[in-house]
């Protein structure tokens, strides 16, 4: 059996070494080099001293927070109500189905919907509000990002509520708690784990969105992800890009510590 184990670990261990450990080490290593290829701490100095980067980071965290909060507000009631339906598994499947559609196609749909003389605009004109600039605004960015993330929030919360034993809720009602008390003292605390893994699987990707910021946000919102993409693929300043990457990794670790080790995989489908 011992040999079998080694045999299995050859391809898998190679993968861990080459595609998990090496890339993380490389991105940290790269962050200490400037654009001319000299070893330096200047990337970090630039990051912390120039207000631009700190402001961008703050903005990115703020937008990720907004996206997560709005998504949670919409998803919790949805997950709760879904649990009360007949054939709830089927309904849940219908919630997950849109995540199987390529992210780019969904974003592309919104370009059509929100663009000038697009359908939403025509509708606004029709009801008398008049044409409005919809695409390339902060609101459109928030809306589309929320749209993309909603299923990933509903799923873990739905699972947490499904596991909640109805007898707790009944007991609480029998003991005279009002609907709100039952929710805030019994249902919500008992489903907090689901909320946490939902927050984790929405917040981290929201920090690094870059495609939506470009196509829908019109570069008005710069997230950490946009900045990394810009540095790597446009200005070719890999050192600075890696530095922001390290910051993003740190932000990710903090988020994971705050939301706790999730017991189950909330995001059965990973959102890229």
């Amino acid at each position: 059996m011992k040999q079998g184990k080694l045999f299995y670990y050859i391809p898998y261990g190679l993968w861990i070494a080459l595609f998990v450990i090496a890339p993380v080490v490389l991105i940290v290593y790269q962050s200490f080099f400037n654009i001319a290829g000299h070893f330096t701490l200047s990337n970090y100095a630039t990051y912390f001293h120039s207000g631009v980067y700190l402001k961008m980071t703050f903005n990115s965290v703020w937008y990720a927070f907004l996206i997560t909060a709005i998504t949670l507000l919409i998803s919790y009631p949805t997950a709760y109500l879904l649990n009360q339906l007949k054939h709830k598994q089927l309904w849940l499947l219908l919630i997950i189905l849109p995540t199987w559609i390529n992210l780019l196609l969904k974003t592309y749909a919104f370009i059509g919907l929100l663009s000038r003389s697009g359908s939403v605009d025509s509708f606004l004109t029709f009801i008398g509000i008049g044409p409005k600039q919809l695409l390339f605004t902060d609101a459109s960015f928030l809306f589309v990002a929320t749209y993309i993330e909603i299923p990933f929030m509903i799923l873990p919360i739905y699972n947490a509520i499904a596991e909640l034993s109805p007898s707790y809720v009944n007991a609480s009602r029998d003991l005279g708690a009002s609907g709100w008390q039952t929710f805030s003292r019994v249902i919500f605390p008992l489903t907090l784990d689901g909320v946490k893994s939902g927050v984790q699987s929405v917040f981290i990707p929201s920090l690094s969105l870059f495609m939506i910021t470009r196509l829908i946000g019109g570069n008005r919102v710069i997230t950490l992800g946009t900045a990394i993409e810009q540095h790597f693929l446009v200005t070719q300043n890999w050192g600075m890009g890696s530095t922001i990457g390290v910051i993003l990794i740190v932000a990710m670790v903090i988020t994971m510590l705050l939301t706790g080790e999730r017991k189950k995989k909330g995001r059965t489908r990973h959102a890229k």
Binding site: P23, K106, G112
Partner: protein, 274 residues
């Protein structure tokens, strides 16, 4: 908790579902429109589908995307299954935990980080960006999900079957191919399926590691969408939606079949015990 939903609750759910599906149906609807933009439906036509099927570049990209998805999933499934077997046979708790944590790093990392770090890695290796770098990246980010889907099946498997096989004189290879693999096959299939959807869905990682010559659908749609609306893309998305529906239906039936088989097995075992 089983109560009839009030009117407001129903309305709320209906609105959520409408919002989730409206953009997709909207895309599909305009793929049949005679106009050139996604506003004001101009009457029914298949013209955009015809352009789509006469666009050799796009067809090539669709084929490339499918080849990358199937090949990467195949490799990821093989390596991931080996990984799950390795983890399963690791008895040392701390090592097992460490390996699993390393396994999950790529699951939680933002794609931009995966893409950027792979780009550095391939460049340092001197690998030319293109088909190979995209394929390697897709294999890499699909492996962890295969491990996570196969491992529970291994843990569910009755371990005394392995001992029994060894007692009856099976060599390790026979034990693996005749006992273990058939028992975990459902997990392997779901792993493969997930790997395919990961690969088809990926944009950010591919965007970083694809060079000039090679493109997948996501990257192509991105560059076309930056230039504005093109109803050929709508036609493509309608077809994609159809394929997604078929895939998810297939997966759903696979799961149903597995569950059915599981209960059937249990009934048989119970019948034997009685």
């Amino acid at each position: 908790m089983q109560s009839k939903l009030s009117g407001w609750s129903k309305a709320y759910l209906i609105i959520v579902f409408i919002i989730l599906y409206a953009p997709i149906l909207f895309l599909v609807m305009y793929s049949f429109s005679k106009g050139n933009t996604m506003s004001n439906f101009h009457g029914f036509t298949f013209a955009h589908y015809q352009t789509l099927f006469h666009d050799p570049r796009l067809i090539q990209i669709v084929l490339d995307t499918l080849i990358v998805a199937l090949l990467s999933s195949l490799f990821a499934t093989i390596i991931g299954t080996a990984g799950a077997l390795g983890v399963y046979e690791t008895r040392h708790r701390a090592i097992r935990q460490t390996v699993l944590s390393l396994n999950n790093i790529l699951m939680v990392s933002p794609d931009v980080i995966i893409g950027a770090s792979f780009l550095i890695f391939f460049t340092m290796l001197g690998l030319r960006l293109g088909f190979i770098s995209v394929l390697l990246s897709h294999i890499a980010f699909s492996i962890p999900i295969v491990v996570l889907l196969v491992l529970p099946k291994l843990n569910e498997m009755n371990a005394s079957m392995i001992d029994a096989a060894a007692d009856l004189g099976a060599n390790p290879w026979q034990t693996l191919t005749r006992v273990i693999l058939p028992a975990i096959m459902p997990g392997i299939f779901s792993g493969f399926f997930m790997a395919v959807t990961y690969s088809l869905d990926d944009f950010a990682v591919t965007f970083f590691v694809t060079g000039n010559g090679f493109s997948t659908l996501s990257v192509e749609i991105y560059s076309r969408a930056r230039q504005g609306v093109d109803l050929e893309i709508n036609a493509l998305s309608a077809l994609w939606f159809l394929v997604s529906l078929l895939l998810i239906a297939g997966y759903y039936f696979l799961e149903q079949y597995n569950q059915g088989r599981k209960t059937k097995n249990r009934q048989q075992v119970e019948a034997v015990i009685k």
